[in-house]
Amino acid sequence: MDALKALELTARVTQSLRQIGAVGARGAANALSQLTGQEISISMPIAVMLPLVDLPDLFSPRELQELCVAVYVPFEGDAAGSLALLLRGDQAQTLLSLMGLPVEGDFDEMHLSALREVGNIVASAYLNALADLANMTILPSPPGLAHETIAAIIGSVAAQAMLHDEYGLVVQVRMSSPDHRLTPDMIMLPRPAALAAILSKLEASLDEAA
């Protein structure tokens, strides 16, 4: 794995990863759109490779202290890694009320279960879109849910990934409703070992399509 330390993402690889992120995010945005009845757009994805210990640097110190609801979905198969859906501030409340489950005060069991399910549906849509694109099998695990500061969530996600890898690939994309009340972030951490496999399959399917 040491060879990967020296891996710098070339412009071409970065472009492919952003493309992957966009396809996944479009799948996720469609799913979210169906759940909320809102049109959901996506930002241009960011793709970077960085030491996993620096993962919190993707957020500002102020953002790190914000509360957020996170759904975390590890996945395996032809590509392994994890995917997190982050609903910052009161977006989880906004999402639930759009789904006809308004929140008064704290989340109850029903709210938490609904959020977990939303995360499951949205993450699966992302991974399915990616699997279809690259003609791969990707198997999502049952989702984990947390309501915590972004620092605690990102630190835990990074620690989990560091059990396998020193460096991580991050593909980050923001979704947005027309009124910007709902702007969830999706962060995918494919394991670097899967990078070559993803890219070769992706290029093969893009060639076919062309």
């Binding site: 210990v53 695990s141 984990g144 947390a146 915590e148 500061t149 620092a151 620690a159």
Partner: protein, 173 residues
Amino acid sequence: MKQRNVSIGELVVTADKGEVLVAVGLGSCVGVALYDPTSGLAALAHVMLPDSRGERHDTRFADVAIPAAVEEMTSRGAVKTRIRAAIAGGAAMFNFGPSAHIRIGEQNIQACTRALEALAVPIVASDTGGSSGRTLSLVVATGEVFVKTPGSQAKLLASLAPGREEVAVANAA
């Protein structure tokens, strides 16, 4: 007083009485606060993973960060037998169903406890496990350790400077 952030994987040792060392957002990470009341030296390690397996000298790992903290404190004038510790964190952040997900938080707590025991540093208080993230602060001037969870006020976890009575008992012994 000035807040000094101890970011993930970092170790800070200081005797600056104007500082409060803070580890924000301890999820599965563990904050290890060390204090020698006599020299006023304080250390805070924001431990991320349990075991370096001897491969890397890196303060992200409990087995490296804790001995490194004690060593730096003693090299700057602390006395090892006076150092006391408080730890917080090690939560299982994501509430998974019945899955075989590796519990890093739990492993981190065990590794920190082991490393402190190996150095004979007593753990005066701990607030670990569960599913809540925490923020730990160590007030260098007083040795007080506070823990805060989201949506609630900071609570005093421990004072690592012994009170007068405790000193009297220690002297008598």
